[in-house]
């Protein structure tokens, strides 16, 4: 008994000893280590032919030219296009990761298309006299915007709604002094490449309470008392004394004096965070109209399109009259707070939103239809606020939509019964017929007069990476500038002034934004607010603590960040649809511990 057991042990022992003299154990150790190099879950990048393709970024109105590095046609990285005279090869962080958007986990992936069509049709013929069918276009100035306007003209009682577009554009290159009332010049305003290209020539005076990215690089930052911009403007415009302004704004007299002098001397321009703010009227006093503030020009249109509905602002729409509201949120743009829209809707209004995000109107609309996202959609981009002269560029799709999407333009055209057509092509032909301007191809960086190209090549180049520009030096003064006087913030007991941090907001943000928001503290995530140490202390809020942002319109659960760079009496927020709905017109709030 014992002997056999002992022998068995000996046998095993011998086996073990022998095994060590064979390659087997060592090879297995090596292989397991190799296995850890590509164990399950680690994807293998596709290999294949690498080609460059061109398009334009539609994430904001800047429409920067984009060079996409594609493997087997699939874009794997995006860069700017150096020869492009407007964007100068620059992209913003959102644009750089734009090719990830189609795969965003939070993207709207399906929607009740048939139901929506049926509901809209029903509502349209059931609606009583005077009830309106309306399209809300968050990004006016595109070719599809004209489709909407034509559609609304074709429909009886059609209404084309859009956030106010400035009737002017800013010629930064012509300015020597830029006085910015909180305009995020270096962080989301206009075309990044254009701003930085012009940066060398102008002196920047940034007037805002928080030291934003723009203020940090400004030649002069005036940390103004929140809400006293008008007083400062008055002083710069010579309506009040500098002393008075200094008293109200908390900015030193000599500083204001220096700014006033600089503004009066040179070709100057005044910018405001909101392009239609009355502060812009200061430009007239500084004789900037026609020099740095010029008329905004759109590329030529087909004659047939002239019969189009006028642009109406939400405020001007009749109350309780909109029976059908179609919202094009496919591209992030000027979000109109919901509480401005709600009163305009009829009792049993049908609201359809074309969007990719659940953050915006999807929270309010009855029908949420998935729209294509950049770079899936064939779009064009209207001129940006800092684009002088006419320009036409197409965002050619880099890949087919990865989810079943609805094209808002086609949807609207269909319910309005417009004839089937390709508006972009028609527009391109119209521009080509106009025979003005030049066509710039990105592949070779060559610019050729439009009249020397055939219509087909014109169209081909626009789609394969190119843009049409007509910047005839003649600059016209803009028409009469209209401004919305910002309603005096209601003097309720809410202690904090809401200030929006810069950056592109609304719409899907590339998943990689986590690098800037969560994985470093470079940018404020959408659910964060920044407070001054003093305000935080007085409300018992600690850094990174959950708290509630309360305004007259409601409350929102956010995470507090204590930032010594934020003055007392100010709460800095990452502007977005939720915040817009929350703050609306009255930008005052309170932050309390959750």
């Amino acid at each position: 008994m014992t002997t056999t057991r002992r022998n068995l042990l000996k046998f095993v022992g011998g086996g073990a000893a022998g095994a060590l003299l064979t390659p087997a154990p060592w090879r297995l150790i090596t292989d397991t280590a190799l296995w850890s190099e590509n164990w399950p879950g680690i994807p293998r990048p596709a290999r294949g032919e690498i080609r460059a393709r061109f398009t334009h970024c539609t994430l904001c109105p800047a429409g920067c030219a984009v060079r996409a590095r594609c493997v087997n046609g699939q874009p794997v990285s995006l860069t700017g296009v150096k020869p492009h005279p407007i964007s100068h090869g620059a992209l913003c962080p959102w644009g750089i990761a734009g090719h990830h958007l189609p795969y965003h986990p939070a993207r709207v992936r399906q929607g009740p298309v048939k139901e929506a069509l049926a509901a809209v049709a029903r509502a349209m013929d059931q609606r009583s006299a005077g009830e309106r069918v309306a399209v809300l276009d968050l990004r006016p100035g595109r070719t599809v915007s004209w489709t909407y306007r034509r559609a609304m003209a074709a429909i009886e009682n059609g209404l084309y709604l859009a956030p106010r577009q400035p009737a002017y554009s800013i010629d930064l290159a012509a300015a020597e002094t830029v006085v910015s009332f909180g305009a995020p010049l270096f962080d989301g305003w206009g075309t990044p490449g254009n701003v930085f290209a012009a940066r060398g020539n102008f002196r920047l005076v940034q007037i805002e309470p928080v030291e934003s990215r723009t203020a940090a690089l400004a030649d002069m930052w005036l940390p103004i008392r929140p809400g006293t911009e008008t007083a400062m403007a008055a002083a710069l415009g010579g309506e009040t004394t500098i002393a008075e302004a200094a008293r109200l704004t908390g900015v030193g007299e000599e500083a204001i004096g220096a700014v006033k002098e600089a503004a009066e001397n040179g070709p100057a321009v005044v910018l405001a965070a909101d392009p239609s703010s009355p502060l812009m009227s200061l430009n007239a006093k500084l004789r900037a109209l026609g020099r740095t503030v010029v008329a905004r020009r759109e590329a030529p249109l087909p004659e047939a399109w002239k019969k189009a509905a006028p642009v109406t602002e939400m405020a001007a729409a009749p109350d309780g009259a909109i029976r059908v509201l179609l919202i094009d949120e496919s591209l992030p743009g000027g979000y109109v707070p919901w509480q401005e829209i709600e009163p305009k809707l009829a009792a049993n209004a049908v609201v359809v939103v074309f969007t990719s995000t659940t953050e915006g109107y999807a929270r309010h609309a009855r029908y949420v239809l998935p729209s294509p996202v950049y770079p899936e959609a064939a779009e064009d981009i209207g001129p940006a606020i800092d684009t002088v002269g006419e320009v036409f560029r197409i965002a050619a799709p880099l890949l087919a939509p990865v989810v079943p999407v609805v094209n808002p333009g086609e949807f609207v055209a269909r319910i309005a019964g417009l004839p089937q057509s390709d508006p972009l092509r028609e527009r391109a032909d119209a521009i080509h017929q106009a025979g003005r301007g030049a066509l710039l191809g990105y592949a070779d960086g060559k610019s050729t007069p439009a009249k020397e190209v055939t219509a087909d090549n014109f169209w081909k180049t626009l789609n394969q990476g190119g843009c049409w520009m007509d910047d005839t030096g003649k600059k016209a003064a803009p028409g009469k500038l209209e401004f919305i006087a910002a309603g005096e913030p209601p003097h309720d007991e809410l202690p904090l002034m809401v200030v929006a941090a810069g950056g592109r907001r609304g719409g899907l943000a590339p998943p990689l934004m986590s690098k800037l928001e969560r994985e470093s503290n470079l940018r404020m995530a959408a659910n964060r607010v920044a407070l001054s140490p003093a305000d935080a202390r007085s409300n018992g809020i600690e850094n990174g603590g959950r708290c509630l942002l309360e305004t007259a319109c409601g409350r929102l659960s956010v995470v507090a960040t204590i930032d010594a760079g934020v003055p007392a009496g100010v709460v800095e927020v990452a502007a977005g649809p939720r915040i817009a709905d929350l703050c609306g017109a009255s930008p005052r709030a309170r932050v309390v511990r959750a």
Binding site: G14, G15, R47
Partner: protein
């Protein structure tokens, strides 16, 4: 006592035999290529050279195993009479289905191997690394280490010389040896990515 020694010795023997003879065979899983392609025929009859099919792209990247359209260029219809070709036409060319070739030489993901640098700058002949693949009448079975997932040609010395191919120099050691011999740099990042 004696019994003990015998037990020990026999245990050892069994282990040795298993480790040296059985293990090398069971270690690799063997798969056959989708098509019985003959490099020899193409080289001799059609007089094609390696780079005719295994070509470089304009940007210098290596296209690797040719895609179907390359084959169908000539084989739109059967050219020979072999069964293999008939199957190839029926199963791939006609339905226009890419054959799933198994690449003996596919380097691991973490290797950046530049063919053109070796061929154009280093003047390395194909055979030097790939062995006499071009002259082979048939495609040898593809052997894969199921644990590491790598082709036998690119990782691990043949553990037992008995009855196994030893030629073909596409393992890391081969790269390093060659670079050493020619006094070339061989820092990790030079080849790894």
């Amino acid at each position: 006592m004696i019994g003990g020694k015998i037990a020990f010795a026999s245990g050892m023997l069994v282990a040795l035999a298993g480790g040296w003879l059985a293990f090398p065979r069971i270690l690799y899983q063997t798969r056959l290529q989708p098509v019985n392609f003959s490099h020899k025929v193409h080289a001799e009859k059609a007089g094609t050279k390696c780079e005719d099919c295994h070509s470089f792209r304009d940007d210098g990247t290596y296209a690797g195993i040719p895609t179907l359209d390359k084959c169908s260029g000539c084989h739109a219809a059967a050219m020979g009479t072999t069964v293999a070709e008939k199957n190839f036409i029926d199963q791939y060319v006609t339905p226009n289905r890419e054959p799933q070739w198994l690449s003996y030489a596919q380097q691991p993901e973490n290797v950046y191997f530049s063919h053109i640098a070796h061929v154009k700058l280093g003047h390395v002949k194909c055979e030097q690394c790939h062995g006499n693949e071009g002259g082979a009448a048939t495609l040898r079975p593809y052997q894969r280490d199921p644990i590491s997932g790598y082709s036998r040609d690119i990782w691990g010395r043949p553990v037992s010389p008995i009855g196994l191919r030893t030629e073909g120099g596409m393992r890391m050691d081969d790269c390093v040896d060659c670079h050493r011999r020619q006094g070339l740099e061989y820092s990790c990042m030079g080849c790894h990515k």
